[in-house]
Symmetry: C2
Subunit: 193 residues, 2 copies
């Protein structure tokens, strides 16, 4: 059986953990939860659901509402098996970050002092917006979904850390206290306060 894509695992996991769902429901769930570390668009979700069905990892049941088509998917035993295999698998999981705001900070030497701070402020604003989005998506806490809650806390904590870091840098920049301890102190490398 061909390698499953990351999105395939997302769908498999989502249906397994949330129960039988339609593509549309999955799309919304992703937007509320995994979007912050694993996004998926409808243009990906629908074709992938079909592929998983014809591979025997999902079953589709047609349950129209009135005359509106509606396909509800469930995980098969084979799908359950594939999910566990992936979860247990130790080969290097993908980690990719594309942070344009940080790239601007990286090049900020090319700017005048006030504009440098502005770049850091913009980075902070973005993370504040993301943090807001995560906060609004507060998951209902249920003991069988501990890890949904844990990863939510991760989002809060990690973007919170970045925001604090930005504030720290902004302060140092404003007070001309940069280079930010290059001689081995940990005043910045360590999480700010």
């Amino acid at each position: 059986m061909a390698e499953l894509s990351g999105t395939a695992h997302l769908l498999l996991g989502m249906i397994r953990v949330k129960g039988r769902r339609t593509g549309y429901e999955i799309k919304r769930l992703v937007e509320l939860s995994t979007r912050f570390f694993w996004a998926a668009s409808p243009g990906q979700i629908y074709p992938e659901l079909e592929r998983l069905e014809s591979a025997g990892l999902l079953t589709r049941s047609e349950e129209p509402h009135g005359r509106r088509a509606r396909n509800v998917y469930s995980v098969t035993d084979q799908g359950e098996h594939a999910l566990h295999e992936w979860l247990a698998e130790s080969s290097a999981p993908t980690f990719e970050l594309r942070n344009e705001a940080l790239l601007k900070v990286f090049f900020a030497d090319a700017l005048a002092a006030e504009q440098q701070i502005e770049v850091v402020r913009a980075m902070r604003a973005q993370h504040e917006a993301i943090l807001d989005g995560i906060r609004k998506a507060t998951p209902a806490y249920r003991p069988d979904r501990k890890f949904g809650y844990i990863t939510w806390l991760y989002g809060l904590g990690m973007h919170g850390w970045v925001i604090d870091w930005c504030k720290h840098v902004e302060r140092d920049l404003a007070e001309g206290r940069v280079p930010l301890a290059p001689e081995g102190s940990d005043s910045v490398a360590a999480p700010p306060r």
Copy 2:
């Protein structure tokens, strides 16, 4: 003039801030620095350099070593202008994260207790490896490259935070102390110690 891609800005910035370079040198610089938040492969770098040259943002000078071809690029005034425009631009910069290890944590409810901890440990191992890579890439500290240093510290700090977070979760999981304070305490949402 057509919108510049993210990679175009990367090249423009890199040449501006590091001085005239060959594609090959840029490739190595990216591997040592921005790779951790903005990657670029040779299959992208070389064609993009050509595009930037024909757009007038870079100039190419042929400087072969012996009979080995070698193209050294510099930023033109127009390129400098485009770079500043991008740096000052306030439209939402791309922020994309694809974290498969965290996705596994998100679905860990489907696993038995020992395997749950294992998933978190795997996530930590990955960030420890990344942190190692960043540490090895210690930038030479120069006052005209403050921000190269600052973003390096960001990498150390941010992956350090994640590692601490994983340790924290592992401990709580091992001691059965999860749900990790769901009732409003900040024992986990706040950066661990």
